[in-house]
């Protein structure tokens, strides 16, 4: 394959030069990360590493490498390459002994490096990305009209014998920075203002106003939602809707408010664990409620709860640390210093939340209306007046999220009953089930959520066996909707198995007595016996029985419900191994001394300035968004298998600035980047530059790459004047072709908006995991199944079909054409110039005008000949004045909106 041959060729060159270089240089100490580790990764680690340890030998960690192998002796003796089996095996002639057993032998240069390394003591070095960035001096380089970023960039360009490009023309720059910061092209007013402003500060003012635009938050949220795997549906078979758009709005607002990235991190990972969390802080925890859940009949909730928790671990490490931890769920990392146990220690942080893959997606934050809120404050006042702080917290939490509660799926030992559709408890007449190990000691009330259409039902509960002591009996009145009833509980102590027997003699044998969704064991409200107590109790039950708007959030298990975390043997959740407690990988920064061992502590560890990765990963991501390629190109992998940074000092300088100078302000960082002269360069490339730096990593020219799927939609709507700039709210359904949604058992359907919402920005378009919005997915949008760190831009004929033919884009062309006609009057050339300017914010050069005029002429001739076609294209019933001209302009507008320059930043 080509990759191999390229590799070999390059390696050959490197070896030849390498030998020459070694020969004429005094021997410097070997560099573990740069020299040794790549050889170990390439030749040794697939058999002697995290996955396999053939012969009992591994080169993943130093203590493993120096430890005894199967032979009983260590393979590496530091300081003694001549006595080290490790070295002998690399060069010996016997093919049975020679390593690597299956691959090509190591080159002389490689053996030389390893030999010297063992001689020097076989020290392990740290991978660059696992050492915290320090303050970096800015290169002492003169730049005109630039900032410190340019000093780093130009230093490197000089080393490579390259020069920066001239500045881009102002209108190109205006469009570029507007799309980059807000995801929208400049408005006509911005174009006019910027054209008129000749002061040196004009660009700076423009940047500042764009950073203040509310559309800034929408643009950067679009990036974040890929990481958060945000979707308006739950995934898997039924893929039903999920009402979590408030999380999306929270992200938009957080970017707009320039919430510092450390706070932004903490609230999303652990907002619920902050003292007295606000609703916004709870909604932010939706980050990790965006995991998929499975409603398919017959699925085990625990299996998919576990899958969700594992996804949270992987996603958190990918998003904030740029490291892939997924493979560690089965074995130690093959290349990076993460042990098998590390994964489960991280999982232990995440494994104690109340969500359990239930159909109703509990826990959900209840967003009461004003009447509900008044009730909440009345009840809160009572509890504050009569109870202690713990009681206040408990009651307030229950009113907010109805937690802690126990789900029907915890029941077992069914007799004549079942978990219906693997969701709800349904027991038939004289049947029973067990609700095991409930901490009912001291509890006085059982709240039960149930429904039934039948009269005459009853529930009897016995303790610890079917014939055990009677705990309570309860009549079950008909309740067509889900209803929560309060069942008084007799005094008890400790944990017990509850045996639930259901009766209703009037039913057919196959009918369940009722359906039960959940149980909650509660204490009495404080102030029992005081006047007004009964009323406040009734108020609370009534409040629980209201159905306010809600949104899924994270809620931690109370101590009595803590889950133990076990290692899963080979990653299989069905085979738990030894128990583990929460901890972070020791190869990274230490866990902060005072931090709690829960998600909040984990978030504090991530945002600790000592963490080597958090700031680097985020600044690199922002850089990638602006320049189309990261300083570390593999934005998703900062490990030893990822790419090295093109500008390591710049990366560290940016990371350090971000943390210490900008105080995690993303706007300040972006401002610095777009104010650099590097960013403002012209994008023209030359064959020589293209040859030397095809991906523009060195930035000898300005960025030039295709817009994102969101930008392509938003731009078309904006330049045609159709864009509805309303923000926030429920997802919207713009036009999509018939027959796209065919989900099994879902009953949901696509209803095209007609009220102007069809022209909302892409970020508000309904995201269905198993059936993504076609034009978005075609332009490399994410289907949001899992966290996506980097969208890979493709260039396909199906994309051309979208912008040529998708009725959404035909409609934008029509709208643009109407504006062209209105503004250009009867002069075709003026109309075309106006349209191009509206699209590109700059004037149309004459040679391009000639081509568009040719097309206009061809179209006009066609529509003059066939007015019916013009009518169809314009979708009008009447004949508008100058119909053929308008239709021809529509064809031209459609062409303009398909130009490479229009689709490219």
């Amino acid at each position: 394959m080509r990759s191999t041959s390229t590799y070999r060729a390059a390696l050959l060159v490197s070896v030849v030069i390498g030998i020459a270089v070694t020969a004429c240089h005094s021997r410097k100490r070997t560099d573990f990360s740069a020299e040794v580790k790549p050889i170990l990764n390439k030749h040794c680690i697939s058999c002697h590493g995290g996955v396999k340890q053939s012969g009992g030998f591994s080169v993943l960690f130093r203590e493993e490498a120096l430890g005894n192998t199967k032979s009983g002796k260590p393979a590496i003796l530091p300081g003694h390459p001549e006595r080290s089996e490790f070295i002998r095996r690399l060069t010996c002639k016997d093919p049975k002994e020679r390593m690597p057993q299956k691959g090509e032998p190591l080159t002389a240069a490689e053996v030389d490096i390893l030999t010297r390394w063992v001689k020097e003591g076989a020290e392990w070095g740290e991978h660059w990305a696992y050492v915290a960035p320090k303050a970096v001096p800015v290169p002492d380089i003169k730049v005109e009209n630039g900032n410190d970023i340019d000093r780093f960039i130009i230093e490197k360009l000089q080393q490579e014998g390259l020069k920066p490009s001239k500045p881009a023309d102002p209108m190109t720059l205006l469009r570029r920075v507007s799309l980059d910061l807000t995801g929208l092209p400049p408005t006509p007013a911005m174009v006019t203002a910027f054209t008129a402003d000749h002061s040196p500060a004009a660009y700076r003012r423009l940047v500042d106003s764009l950073l203040q635009s509310p559309h800034y938050g929408e643009r950067w949220a679009a990036m974040w939602l890929d990481l958060a795997r945000y979707s308006d549906t739950k995934g898997y078979e039924r893929d039903a809707s999920r009402n979590i758009w408030r999380y999306r709005d929270w992200v938009i607002d957080a970017f707009n408010q320039d919430m510092p990235y450390d706070s932004f991190t903490i609230v999303q990972l652990a907002g619920d664990l902050l003292p007295h969390p606000t609703n916004a802080q709870l909604i932010a925890t939706g980050f990790n409620r965006n995991t998929m859940s499975n409603d398919e009949g017959g699925t085990q909730d625990e299996e998919f709860r576990t899958a969700a928790v594992m996804d949270r671990v992987s996603t958190t490490m990918e998003v904030w640390q740029g490291i892939t931890i997924g493979c560690v769920q089965c074995h130690s990392h093959p290349y990076d210093p993460f042990r098998f146990e590390d994964y489960y220690k991280l999982l232990a942080f995440m494994n104690n939340t109340r969500d359990e893959d239930t159909h109703m997606e509990h826990p959900k934050l209840r967003l009461y209306d004003s009447i509900g809120l008044a009730e909440v404050s009345r009840i809160s006042e009572w509890v504050q007046q009569h109870g202690n702080t713990a009681q206040v917290a408990d009651v307030q939490q229950f009113m907010k999220v109805l937690e802690p509660k126990v789900h029907a799926h915890d029941c077992d030992n069914y007799i004549n009953g079942a978990l219906y559709d693997t969701k709800y408890l349904g027991v038939r007449h004289n049947g029973s089930c067990r609700l095991p190990a409930q901490a009912i000691g001291g509890k006085t009330q059982l709240l039960m959520n149930y429904w039934t259409g039948n009269k005459g039902g009853a529930l009897e509960c016995r303790l610890d066996s079917l014939n055990g002591p009677l705990y309570f009996t309860q009549a079950l009145a008909p309740a067509s909707d889900r209803t929560v009833i309060a069942i008084p509980l007799p005094a008890s102590t400790g944990k017990h198995d509850l045996y639930l027997k259901f009766r209703n003699t009037s039913l057919k044998p196959d009918d369940p007595v009722c359906m039960v969704e959940w149980f909650a064991f509660r204490d009495d409200l404080p102030g029992k016996g005081q006047p007004g107590y009964d009323a406040v109790n009734a108020q609370l039950l009534a409040l629980v029985n209201t159905h306010p708007e809600d949104v899924p959030v994270m809620i931690e298990n109370p101590p009595v419900m803590q889950r133990a975390t076990h290692i899963f043997e080979r990653g299989n959740w069905m085979v738990p191994g030894k128990a583990v407690t929460p901890d972070v990988p020791h190869s990274l920064n230490p866990f902060p001394a005072k931090a709690p061992r829960n998600r909040l502590g984990l978030a504090e560890w991530i945002t600790d300035p000592a963490n080597p990765l958090t700031a680097r990963v985020m600044v690199n991501r922002l850089w990638e968004q602006i320049f189309g390629i990261g300083i570390v190109e593999t934005v998703e992998d900062f490990g030893t298998q990822g790419f090295l940074p093109s500008h390591p000092a710049l990366l560290d300088w940016l990371a350090y600035q971000y943390m210490h100078e900008y105080r995690w302000s993303t706007k300040k960082l972006l401002r610095e980047i777009v104010l650099s002269s590097t960013y403002q360069q012209d994008a023209t490339t030359t064959p020589a530059l293209q040859e030397k730096d095809p991906a523009n990593r060195l930035l000898a020219r300005g960025p030039h790459f295709r817009l994102t799927s969101e930008e392509i939609r938003d731009q078309a709507l904006a330049v045609s004047g159709l864009l509805n700039r309303n923000m926030h709210g429920r997802a919207v359904m713009p036009y999509q072709p018939e027959g796209i949604w065919q989900s099994v058992w879902s009953g949901e359907y696509w209803k095209t908006a007609q009220d102007g919402n069809q022209y909302r920005r892409a970020i508000y378009v309904f995201q269905k995991r198993t059936s993504p919005y076609p034009s978005m997915i075609t332009f490399d949008g994410s289907s949001r199944e899992v966290c996506l760190q980097r969208r890979i831009r493709t260039n396909t004929p199906l994309q051309a079909l979208v912008t040529l033919n998708d009725p959404v884009y035909v409609e934008t062309a029509r709208a643009l054409a109407q504006n062209m006609q209105r503004n250009g009057r009867n002069d075709a050339a003026a109309c075309i110039r106006w349209g191009y300017h509206a699209a590109m914010s700059k004037s149309l050069p004459d040679n391009k005008l000639a081509i568009l005029q040719r097309l206009y002429g061809q179209a006009l001739q066609q529509y003059k000949k066939s007015p019916d076609d013009a009518k169809k294209l314009l979708q009008c019933k009447e004949t508008p004045p100058q119909m053929a001209e308008l239709a021809a302009l529509t064809v031209v507008a459609n062409a303009i909106m398909n130009l490479d320059e229009f689709l490219t930043i």
Partner: protein, 494 residues
């Protein structure tokens, strides 16, 4: 030394770069072997000389070794048909009909819907042996039975997912969770496709629904989206947005693409970005696709005997039509054609999903077309180079379903992971062969067990790939279709 490091590192990165998505296309654009593509649009007033490029990530590529298969047609019966009513003949099970299931079959097992102790359900079909291979095929598939000598049965396929969504994902992407590339994506990533005027990986659905796991079963996962399956539809545009807007005729579309590309050529002269060149090519391809896709999707011009053979009715969304389309597509050089037919989930909850009613109708719907597909491929000499695969995402239990611990209104079987039947044919697969056995009631695989990634390894093998070497670097590790498993099922290879 610094120079040496750098070179070593660069060599290393070069390998990575080649296989990371960002560079894939760029490399194609600027890489070696660039060739001018013939174009329907050349010579139409372009003032710029044609540019050499090879921007097509779907360009045909050589596999690891010469493969037996050039194309694949995969017939997936979504919902999972019962092996016990089709191919896995179990007279012993008949004797146990209606008796309570022995506890030994239930201990420690989990089922999707069976609760407590169900009854055994004898085969609801009449079996007989067919062809020289004496293959057991039930009377539900009389046409297919005549082709039994063409196929290799796999009677002991096993999965570990007993819910549709995850099981279909495992079957089609090698992993039960969402986010991995489908088989067709891997294959087109590895091989490209022979006909750039058609998508390389085409998906056809019937049965009124997409599969349970949705479009993810033909998604490209972490591979570039260019490798995702393209759903070709019977109703509406055969490919989304293929049709020009109402009121724009072909001439005008051609003229507008010429204008777009003329300006793009100027843009390329100004900026020199090879992506622009790639875009010019994609617009030309789009234009060609607008002609070639409707043409290949139109079965109305097929001769009467072909319609008779398949039982096709032009204009209808049916499995039969899709089988005929599959043949037409591979004939035109499409690399991977994936059919999904929904409605095989015979739990017994209603008439359509009953082993004794709906299931028979489903069999009737596929019997003639499947036999016709094999026959037609054979008579055209295509079967030797087309791998045909038939199967569901799991099997059905020898027990009768008793959802929620109740008797069901119709006869039905629950999801079963421990043994089920698939078959493969064509492209170097043994003819008239059967591999693998289940116990006397069809519950457990006893011999010749086949894992899902073994199926994948075998598909790749027949296409000329070592399944352990067809890899893609993503998130810091190499991924493959067979993940960490997979053994080629050599006994069925001719």
């Amino acid at each position: 030394m610094a120079k040496h490091d750098k070179l070593l590192r660069e060599a290393n990165e070069e390998t990575l770069r080649y296989i990371t998505r960002r560079h894939f296309l760029l490399d194609c654009v600027t890489g070696l072997g660039a060739a001018a593509l013939g174009s329907l649009l050349t010579g139409c007033g372009s003032s710029v000389k044609p540019v050499d490029f090879s921007a097509d990530p779907m360009a045909p590529r050589a596999p690891h070794f010469p493969g037996r298969a050039k194309s694949v047609i995969y017939l997936h019966m979504a919902g999972a048909p019962s092996q016990l009513e089709l191919f896995d003949y179990k007279p012993e099970l008949q004797k146990l009909h209606n008796q309570l299931c022995p506890p030994s079959l239930l201990e420690g097992k989990k089922f999707a819907f069976i609760r407590g102790v169900p009854k055994m359900l004898g085969p609801q079909a009449i079996f007989s042996q067919h062809g020289e291979s004496r293959a057991w095929v039930s009377d539900h598939l009389p046409h297919f039975a005549t082709m039994a000598d063409e196929v290799s049965f796999l009677k002991a396929v096993q999965t570990d997912q007993f819910n549709h969504g995850p099981a279909q994902l495992l079957m089609q992407t090698g992993n039960a969770r969402l986010g991995r590339p489908s088989i067709g994506s891997w294959v087109t990533y590895g091989l490209g496709t022979e006909n750039s005027n058609l998508p390389g990986f085409v998906v056809l659905t019937s049965g009124g629904k997409t599969p349970d796991a949705g479009k993810s079963v033909w998604g490209s996962g972490f591979l570039p989206s260019v490798y995702q399956g393209v759903q070709c539809r019977t109703k509406g545009d055969p490919v989304l947005f293929l049709t020009d807007p109402d009121g724009m005729n072909r001439d005008l579309r051609k003229q507008s693409i010429e204008a777009i590309n003329d300006i793009n050529r100027q843009e390329y002269e100004n900026f020199g970005d090879p992506e622009t060149v790639a875009r010019i090519a994609q617009y030309e391809l789009a234009y060609k696709m607008q002609i070639s896709v409707p043409d290949v999707m139109d079965i109305s011009k097929e001769p009467a005997y072909i319609h008779e053979l398949y039982g096709t009715q032009p204009g209808k969304e049916s499995f039969a039509n899709n089988c005929l389309l599959a043949r037409k597509l591979v004939e035109k050089g499409v690399r991977f054609v994936q059919l999904y037919d929904w409605g095989w989930d015979s739990h017994g909850t209603d008439e359509n999903l009953a082993i004794d009613y709906g299931f028979r109708n489903k069999c009737r719907e596929i019997d003639r077309p499947v036999a016709a597909l094999l026959k037609d491929l054979k008579q055209r000499g295509l079967l030797d180079e087309t791998l045909v695969i038939w199967g569901g995402e799991f099997g059905r239990t020898p027990m009768q379903e008793n959802r929620d611990g109740k008797d069901m209104p119709y006869l039905g079987r629950d999801h079963h992971v421990e043994a089920f039947t698939m078959w493969m044919a064509g492209a170097g697969i043994k003819k008239g062969f059967s591999w693998g056995e289940t116990d006397e009631i069809g519950y457990a695989a006893v011999k010749g067990k086949v894992a899902i990634n073994d199926i994948h390894a075998t598909i790749l093998q027949q296409l000329g790939f070592d399944h352990e070497k067809l890899i893609y670097q993503f998130q810091g590790r190499p991924f493959r279709l067979t993940d960490v498993g997979g053994h080629v099922i050599t006994p069925i290879l001719a």
